[in-house]
Amino acid sequence: MDLTLTPEQAEIVTSSAAFLRTRLPSSSLRQRLDSHDEVDAAVWSAAAELGWFALGLPEDRGGVGFGLADEALLFREIGRSLAPGPFLSTVLAARIATLAGCDELAGRIVGGAERVGLVLGGGEQGGVVRLLDADQSFVVALSPSAAALVAVDALHDVRRVRCVDPASSMRRATAGELRPVAIVQDEVDAIGRRGHVLAAAMLTGIAEAARDIAAEHARNRIQFDRPIGVHQAVKHPCAEMAVHAERAFAQTAFAAVAHDEGRRDAEFHATSALVVATEAAERSTAATIQVLGGMGFTFEHDAHLFVKRARVVARLFGAPSDHLAHLLTLAPAE
């Protein structure tokens, strides 16, 4: 038992963080916001070339052969960096297409030619389903027992709506029967569960980024002749953020490894990870705005972008209350 990173895992963290920092800084996100073109195609291709969309696919199916634990480390960096783009749903789509034997589609997704969005979890609301990042041809749709790829043009009344998160594109569509072009049952491969763990990883990265922004401000902002971080009213929320981030990381790592090792309680741990990481991200991003004061409330500062991204990622696969309810139906952890 060892939850520290191997040297190879540490390298995944370092290299993906460096790529994101140089190719997808938050300034580039802002430049693209008004253009409704959140994803830089060249950067997306570069990510594909790094193997990001095939990281967890088996080597004999054209993948890198890494585990969910390694993918989780990548997605933690994606969360931390606020990188725009459907990385998570595209990774799930690559897996669905590959395991369903749709080799041509899998190749386009893995190669970066096809970005895939997501049908937002939680079911329809008043006859409406919501699609995230459905800018191209396909979306991932999860059911309680399977993961599928659906063609966007098989949906009706698809119309764009503005998302609270400026870096996510959102659409509404009329609910109807979704006919999959590819489908993988959970008992063959628990793809939905991988999505939960990767979402938890993104939320962990967001919580860590928020913590670091708040701590830096607390160390450097001078008022009444002293850094504001000397006061416990500022110091303690920062400490709480550190605890939230650490718990989120620990439980997400545990869940990813539990999945890779085929533990019977993998579902319990994946659901717990999403619950804990959601709370970490939501509380930390809110607390960071408070520590920042007036600056935190501006559009110009990145703090609100973390709030909004956390809100979206926490709801990719259903409402937070859905995950709590699901957790209670499962057998206890082992």
Binding site: Q232, A239, A242, R247, A248, L328, P332
Partner: protein, 389 residues
């Protein structure tokens, strides 16, 4: 990263589980403190005779020097017996003993370590004072050198098991002129020495193992100084490096077990309007959240132990474990009260529900003893995040 235990470690777990199943005391731990002392020491003796004493202590001092992973396994299995996580053996095994191992003289180690492991003696801690809690370095109990002795006058408070203890780790001020951290000495105090008075303190959970201890010109031989005179603060700090992540394992496992018991209770217990408590959406959500939180606490424990296994010194991450342990103890037992409904107002010996009421009353101490949650947050913010003091 991996969660797998080796085949040898799994075999070790089986061995521990089997031994504990056969030998752990079955009778209830007595309420009366003197009887509890005998009960605890008898249990320690039996562990010693079977080779289970001092699992984390060096072999040279009678221990088994087990790996951190095996210590984790021992504590996980111990927690499953349901035995009290803290009893009269705690200070000797986890605090005084390790301090003597780290900073004691050969004579002090020879005199005291084996009796602790064998279950011959009980130790207690004389650190806090009425005017020195979180600011421990502000302690005032005075010790004056007089020939071969130190003469001690003052008072300690919050000393668990003092009324049934043989020895005490005692922090005293030997140099009032020096800056406060530099005039402190760590002493081995014989509690049977003349001039010592122990007064029990009743706590809000009806516990009586707390006490105040008064010292009126108590003579303690110089040979009982651990480390150097005036260097006691560094001796006290050295104890902390012995704790490498396993301190809260028993608490964490028992919390997990209790969350599952509460889920069962909520499913079976009819609330006032005749529905099971779990039909209440807010109770169901709090139970689910408790499941996620105790899972994360275990993951945090594993992460901490993993790091400490690679590190020379434990880091400030241990403070995060204590913070979470305290917070969850308080949340889980408060949830228990809401599941119980009006029965949470009663204390009836022998009734199952009383267990939850007693645990909840105890839980107020979880964020205070051993370093308050406020101090832990200061440590996390200052040492991990670099915030200014």
């Amino acid at each position: 990263m991996d969660l797998a235990f080796s085949a040898e470690d799994d075999a070790f777990r089986d061995e521990v589980r089997t031994w504990l199943a056969e030998h752990a005391p079955r009778e209830h731990r007595p309420h009366d403190l003197q009887a509890a002392r005998e009960h605890d020491l008898d249990w320690q003796r039996r562990q010693y005779e079977a080779g289970w004493a001092g699992i984390g202590w060096p072999v040279a001092y009678g221990g088994r020097d087990l790996s951190l992973t095996r210590q984790l396994i021992w504590y996980e299995e111990y927690a499953r017996t349901g035995l009290a996580p803290i009893d009269a053996r705690f200070v000797g095994l986890s605090h005084a003993g390790p301090t003597l191992i780290g900073r004691g003289t050969d004579r002090q180690r020879a005199d005291h370590l084996l009796p602790i492991l064998r279950g011959d003696v009980v130790w207690c801690q004389g650190f806090s004072e009425p005017e020195a809690g979180s600011d421990l370095a502000g302690l005032r109990t005075r010790a004056v050198v007089d020939g071969d002795d130190l003469v001690v006058t003052g008072q300690k408070i919050w000393t668990s098991f003092a009324s049934v203890a043989d020895w005490q780790e005692l922090l005293v001020r030997t140099n009032p002129e020096a800056p406060k951290h530099r005039g402190i000495t760590w002493l081995i105090c014989d509690l049977h020495a003349p001039g010592i008075e122990v007064r029990p303190i009743r706590t809000m959970d009806d516990g009586d193992h707390f006490a105040e201890v008064f010292y009126d010109e108590v003579r303690i031989p110089r040979s009982n100084v651990v480390g150097d005179v005036d260097d006691g603060w560094s001796v006290a700090m050295s104890t902390l490096s012995f704790e490498r992540g396993t301190a809260f394992t028993i608490s964490q496992v028992q919390l997990s077990t209790n969350v599952e018991r509460l889920i069962e209770l909520a499913r079976s217990h009819r609330s006032v309007n005749g529905r099971p408590a779990i039909a209440d959406e807010s109770i169901a959500q709090r139970l689910a959240r408790a499941r996620a939180d105790v899972a994360a606490l275990r993951a945090l424990t594993y992460l901490n132990i993993s790091r400490n296994a690679h590190a020379a010194q434990p880091g400030p991450e241990g403070s995060m474990l204590k913070l979470e342990d305290a917070r969850l103890n308080q949340e889980v037992y408060r949830l228990a009260l809401d599941i119980l409904g009006p029965r949470c107002l009663e204390l009836v010996d022998g009734e199952d529900d009383t267990y939850w009421v007693e645990r909840q009353l105890w839980s107020y101490a979880a964020s205070i003893g051993g370093g308050t949650s406020e101090i832990q947050k200061n440590i996390v913010a200052e040492r991990l995040l670099g915030l200014p003091r």
